[in-house]
Amino acid sequence: MQMHSLAFDISHTLAGGLVLISFMMLYQDRLYSLLNVFALHAVVLALSVAWQAYIQDAPHLYITAVIALVFKAIVIPVALHRIVKQLGIHRDIESAVSIGLTMLAGMALVALSMVLMLRVTADADPLAREDLAFALSVVLLGLLVMVTRRNAVSQVVGFMSLENGLVLAATGAKGMPLVVEISVAFSILIAFIVIGIFLFRIRERFDSVDVSALDDYRGERR
């Protein structure tokens, strides 16, 4: 029992840590620092997944943890670093919404997810419940990053943190099948996105294509 509560505390802290780091992402205004923060995010995720693997003694989760560690915490950030160099992407992030507002919105989102999840009757074991609350807030924050940042890279980062939230939820869900497969699938997805950015030279932002350009391409001019 003591053990259990300890386990609970640890996973709780880790999950909370993820949310915290998501917040940190929100107020980064330099690309490199953002990437580093994301790496940290991935590390923490890896830790919490590993911990879950340990307490649920579900060895297959270790694979997920390893993927998270290697792929997300190392490979992707490095790759993005190089892309940023090679494409000579502007170093600092222009955000569509001011940082302060973003932070406020983030607070609101976390609050919202708490409200929603704490409705859940506690007979589902509290561990899962807390995890879900945190996972939901991580997901929402990731999305928030995606919509408030103009850089392609930072949007990718946002998407990845969103997906970290998913993995957190998946691993938190005790005995959930397909977790490994899903994490693999998502890694591939992200790889695609990164490659896409690289191939299609989407330099600054997703919204580089302006309306007039669309007109030409789509035969939609009036």
Partner: protein, 671 residues
């Protein structure tokens, strides 16, 4: 075999002909074959329905086919009302087919007409026969679709595309209104059978809503102002025998729908309903004929006059509603009979007139009256039958148009029996509107006939015109004869209509057959009576007497000389009164109010050699006041929304995000 089976098999035959037409669309002889076939089938259907209507005690016979809504099947039913409208439809169909035998050969693209013509006929027959909401709407829309295809037959001519488009949209608007009406009648359980609807009790709320929806639905198809805008565009755009069908018959099918729902399915009406119908009818009558008077395109003029007649019919239906709501069966039967009689008459003379317009079109290639004139010399037969049509539609004795108008005025004169003050006041006022419409109609057709057929030809086309082929002529002559017959023997028609009024209203007019001298007396002879036969006989007698006397005693000398031009005999036919100038006095009277008409005269100063200019400015207030704003609104909002097509991915993501957050918020607050 039972009557309804006969009718349905005729419809099947028509559909078969349509398929046949597609198969031999490119064949030379296809025109002849198809129109012969349609003539034959329509005649069979016509006689079947006449036999049913005047046969001994017509009792409804039904038929269910395993098509349409799966759990319901397609119900068809033939009762007195349906059989009467079948008579109208198939008579129009037969005459149009006969006319087409000749006219069709002048069609530039027969393969765009032949398949849809029989389909159109079939559609109209089916609407009248349908006995459940789904089949009714299916056939209704099928009818619209077929007629739309016919309107688009000459799709290369300018303006026809717009005509077809406006028509299709208005038709679909009407169908959706009907759909709502039937949805309301059928209720949430979806009893779409007419029998079930008839059996159900409907609350006043439902009744009112259904009335409004039916006025929108059937009214838009029939051409009630302000839903008429498509009619003067679409009817002229079609080939003339199709225009005749659309104007003379399809509008009647719409009226059938109105009668079927409001009088039959809805049960006992409430009197305020009649006020609405009366009002709309009166307005439509006057507006329609005023539009017609301003028109110089022959076929458009005829289309507008159709609107007028629709108004007249709706007005007398409104009267029938008023009397029925107060349980005055006899008066209701009188008004209702007047309406049905006018339906029949209008189908006669409007088809006749459109045939005439078609003949003029084939002979001269002109629809613009200001390029016609003097055709009476070159097309004697056509001009004679068209003259008959004009006299008939102007409601002059001894022709049929007068009889139905007369019956209607008799119904108006029953208004004192109505208990409601609103109606007491309303009915005579509407009567005044109808009288005005009738007088204006006479003026309008003086103009139509005078400018087109009389005077001197205004173009070489009109000078070199020739009489049309014998099929077209025979079709027109038959209709003219029918106009006269219905005018001098109205008693027979009235008695034939009695079963319908018994079915629908539970009352009937007194039997006319045993009136002396074949005269008609709607209530009692002491009140009012009319005898078309004797009036005709008197006129012929006195006319021939005077002719005899004159030719017996007066001089016979005749000399042809130039017309007296007040010292200056005008050399050019252009100096004749044209359509526009003929309408000028009436335009001065009504135009400024109804059309915001302005005459712009640009008279050069003395010594200035440039020609004087005269321009008329007319506004179609309905179009500019109702339809253009709607078009503008749609365009505006689509422009605004269209920006969403050009957002960036980040913005699209924010849309998604926003949706998610809102939904989550709703969830958080609500549950």
């Amino acid at each position: 075999m039972s009557s309804v089976v006969l009718q349905i098999s005729c419809v099947a035959g028509l559909l078969g002909i349509a398929v046949l037409a597609i198969i031999l669309s490119r064949a030379k002889t296809s025109t002849t074959i198809i129109y012969c076939a349609t003539t034959a089938v329509s005649l069979v259907a016509l006689f079947g329905s006449i036999r049913f209507l005047v046969g001994e005690a017509p009792n409804p016979s039904g038929l269910v086919l395993p098509v349409g809504l799966p759990w319901l099947g397609a119900h068809f039913r033939l009762d007195a009302l349906a059989s009467f409208f079948l008579v109208v439809v198939n008579l129009g169909g037969a005459s149009a087919s006969l006319y087409g035998l000749g006219y069709g050969h002048h069609d530039p693209a027969p393969h765009r007409v032949l398949p849809f013509f029989p389909a159109f006929l079939a559609g109209m027959n089916l609407v009248v026969l349908a006995d459940d909401a789904f089949s009714y709407l299916l056939c209704w829309e099928f009818m619209s679709l077929a007629s739309w295809a016919l309107v688009m037959a000459h799709h290369r001519e300018s303006g026809n595309a717009k005509a077809g488009y406006v028509y299709l949209v208005m038709a679909s608007f009407g169908t959706l209104a009907l759909l709502l009406a039937f949805g309301l009648l059928a209720g949430p359980t979806g009893d779409y059978g007419f029998a079930a609807i008839r059996a159900a009790r409907h609350t006043p709320y439902v009744a009112t809503l259904v009335l409004i929806l039916m006025l929108l639905g059937a009214g838009s198809k029939a051409g009630l102002v302000p839903l008429h805008v498509w009619l003067p565009l679409a009817h002229p755009a079609a080939p003339s025998h199709v225009s005749a069908l659309m104007s003379g018959v399809m509008t009647k099918v719409a009226i059938y729908g109105f009668i079927r729902v409001i009088f039959d399915l809805l049960g006992q009406p409430i009197w305020p309903a009649s006020v609405v119908v009366l009002f709309l009818g009166g307005i439509t009558a006057v507006m329609g004929i005023l539009y017609a008077l301003m028109e110089k395109d022959l076929k458009r003029l005829l289309a507008y006059s159709t609107i007028e007649n629709i108004g007249v019919i709706f007005a007398s239906l409104g009267l029938a509603l008023a009397f029925q709501a107060n349980g005055q069966k006899l008066a209701a039967a009188l008004a209702f009979t007047a309406a049905l009689f006018h339906v029949l008459n209008h189908s006669f003379f409007k088809s006749l007139l459109f045939f005439g317009a078609g003949a003029v079109l084939t002979a001269t290639g002109e629809r613009d009256m200001d390029k016609l004139g003097g055709l009476i010399h070159r097309m004697p037969f056509t001009s004679f039958v068209v003259l008959v049509g004009c006299v008939a539609i102007s409601a002059l004795p001894p022709f049929n148009g007068f009889v139905s108008e007369w019956l209607m005025f008799q119904a108006v004169l029953q208004s004192p029996e109505l208990p409601q003050w609103a109606l007491k006041i309303m009915v005579p006022a509407v009567g005044a509107l109808l009288a005005l419409a009738a007088a204006l109609a006479a003026a309008c057709f003086v103009k139509a006939f005078g400018v087109t057929f009389l005077g001197r030809p205004r173009s070489t086309a009109a000078e070199t015109a020739h009489e049309v082929d014998r099929y077209s002529l025979s079709a027109m002559i038959i209709l003219a004869a029918l106009c006269l017959l219905a005018g001098i023997l109205p008693g027979l028609v009235i008695d034939a209509l009695a079963p319908i009024t018994i079915d629908i209203l539970g009352g009937r007019m007194p039997i006319q057959a045993n009136e002396p001298w074949l005269s008609i007396a709607p209530i009692a002879e002491s009140r009012s009576s009319y005898n078309g036969l004797l009036v005709m006989i008197f006129i012929t007698l006195s006319a021939s007497l005077s002719v005899f006397v004159i030719h017996r005693f007066a001089s016979h000398a005749v000399r042809r000389g130039p017309a007296w031009g007040c010292g200056f005999s005008d050399p050019t036919p252009a100096a004749q009164y044209s359509a526009g100038s003929f309408a000028q006095p009436i335009r001065r009277v009504f135009g400024t109010l109804v059309f915001r008409a302005r005459d712009h005269v640009d008279m050069p100063a003395p010594g200035d050699v440039r020609p004087a200019r005269f321009r008329i400015e007319l506004h179609d207030l309905v179009w500019e006041g109702i339809y253009l704003p709607i078009v503008g609104a749609v365009g505006f909002s689509s422009d605004r929304l269209n920006r969403l097509q050009f957002l960036t991915i980040r913005r699209y993501l924010s849309l998604v995000f926003a949706t998610l957050v809102t939904l989550l918020l709703v969830l958080a607050i609500w549950s």
